[in-house]
């Protein structure tokens, strides 16, 4: 089976610091991969390299088996990869609808925006994600929303394009229990429709619950690829992670 995306021996340096060292990772169709590691292990750098925000200094990125050149954020989205970034990547002064369609606007010829269509779609999406407040509609500015609601906007953006791979970087940070459950439901729905998720988190319990496979990152290196079948409990996963950090 062809993986949707593959990183092969990717190295990324910032000045004198090696943030990623020979890191390899792949995500297959229909699986949920949990990427874990301590703070500063390079999780976000790996994600940003994967989706073209950073350019790797060395190594290859392959999409459905084909090596890509001049990889960038737009190409990643066009290839069916959507990311919910840790910082949500929102523009708080703009409306929900503009944020949902940011970078992938629905357009008429000559670049004019399909306003009404975007608003209808955005309203449908925010109901689907489950915004509770009745006061919120697609034209409200994102700056008025709570942290959980902002996460909802970021997720709505990721699902609109029917992406084959959705990358969630620390999606449960600062969320209530209820909102966290919504994120889990969302991940399970994506999996059910035979699409893939790459789930990044430092809460081992969250990652353990929903992932099929785990990748452990430590100081820029991928140190373990583990199948869930071989791990009995989140505690065991935690132990493996601690041991690797110690032995390093």
């Amino acid at each position: 089976m062809q993986p949707i995306i593959e990183l092969e021996k990717v190295t990324k340096r910032f000045g004198g610091i090696t943030a990623l060292n020979n890191a390899s990772l792949k995500v297959n169709k229909g699986e949920v991969v949990g990427l874990i590691g301590d703070n500063g292990a390079g999780k976000s750098t790996l994600i940003k390299t994967l989706v073209g925000v950073h350019n790797p200094d060395d190594g290859d990125i392959k999409i459905r088996g084909d090596k890509v050149n001049n990889w960038n954020a737009l190409k990643a989205r066009e290839a069916g990869i959507e990311t919910v970034f840790q910082d949500r990547a929102l523009c708080p002064q703009q409306s929900i609808v503009w944020n949902i369609f940011m970078g992938k606007e629905l357009k008429y010829p000559f670049g004019f925006i399909r306003d009404k269509e975007q608003i209808t779609e955005a309203n449908r999406l925010i109901r689907e994600i489950g915004f509770t407040s009745k006061l919120i509609n697609a034209e409200s500015p994102v700056g008025n929303l709570s942290g959980g609601e902002r996460q909802g906007v970021a997720i709505a953006r990721a699902i609109y394009n029917n992406a084959e791979l959705i990358i969630l970087d620390e999606p449960t940070n600062n969320l209530s229990l209820n909102e966290t459950q919504k994120v889990f439901d969302f991940v399970l729905n994506v999996k059910k429709s035979n699409r893939s998720v790459l789930f990044i988190g430092h809460n081992i319990y969250h990652v353990y619950d929903i992932s099929d496979r785990f990748v452990i990152l430590d100081r820029g290196e991928v140190v373990h690829h583990l199948d869930k079948e071989n791990i009995q409990s989140p505690e065991e996963l935690m132990k493996i992670m601690r041991d690797t950090i110690k032995s390093h």
């Binding site: 990643a76 910082d87 523009c91 992938k104 700056g143």
Partner: protein, 324 residues
Amino acid sequence: MKNNKSFIGNMFHKNGRALGSMGYFALLMIVFLIGAPEAWMRPNLHQSVFVMMPTLIFLTLPLVFLVASGEIDLSFASTYAVAAYVFAIMAKSGIDPALAILAGLMTGTAIGGLVGALIVVFRLSSLVASLGVLFLLRGIILLLTNSRSITLLEIDSHWIYPVLVGKFYGFPMQIFWAAIFVIFCYYLFTKHVFGVHIHHVGDNSVSAEQMGINVNAVKIKAFMFVGFGAALGGIFTTLITYTFFPTQGFGYLLLALAAVFVGGTPYWGGLGTIVGAVFGVGIIAYMEIGIVAIGWSGTWRQFFNGLIILLALLGHRLHGERVR
């Protein structure tokens, strides 16, 4: 009615700044009307304003795009003269004035693009870098022309002259061109992907980049548009006065910038209003001409300009702080 509050809230969020500038404009009109009703009733006051307004509109509206994208440009006041110079020298040497206008517009756009690329690629401060370009270009113009002006007396015999700056039932044609420009800018800013990207880039360029928007390209295009607007202003003024003069445009530098901010576009990026900027231009133009027209000494002009700018900024403060 359950969404009533949010509806009003959204209306205010979307249009509050434009409505604010409209309010200040109305207020200024009332002050003039009460303070000097006779001068106010004289049509020539409004005529002079309408001669000045189109040029300011050509300069100001593109600046709204640029300020909303999180940058600023001062060099436009010199680009104005360079574009007008290219037009004047070509028309003077016998090239078809329509072509000369096209060349002038292209020059302005190209200068804007270069200034933008310089600032974006080398990550310079747009305020300081464009200040440098402002002086540099003005210097080049003064050197090239030897500080002498160029007169184009025969220009009105060409078909393009009445089309651009002729009279239509007594109204100067440039008013219609400015109106078309306003409508064009409004749709470009609010309904076109370029305008939408301008908002995103100015609001949070990191987010925009992560979502696949080419931040540098958007900013360079905004600088190009400012250059284009400056060229339009310079060429129209040269046509109206039949003269290119090397210090041309300098006087518009602060007026156009004032119009942007008085018009309700905040300095921090991500927000802007075309409609507001049009009223901003109205306020600035009436201030410039009105003070003298009502019989006050011209020495009061700058004082009142300053007062109006400060009052307008304080008023726009009511629209709140930057949301994060």
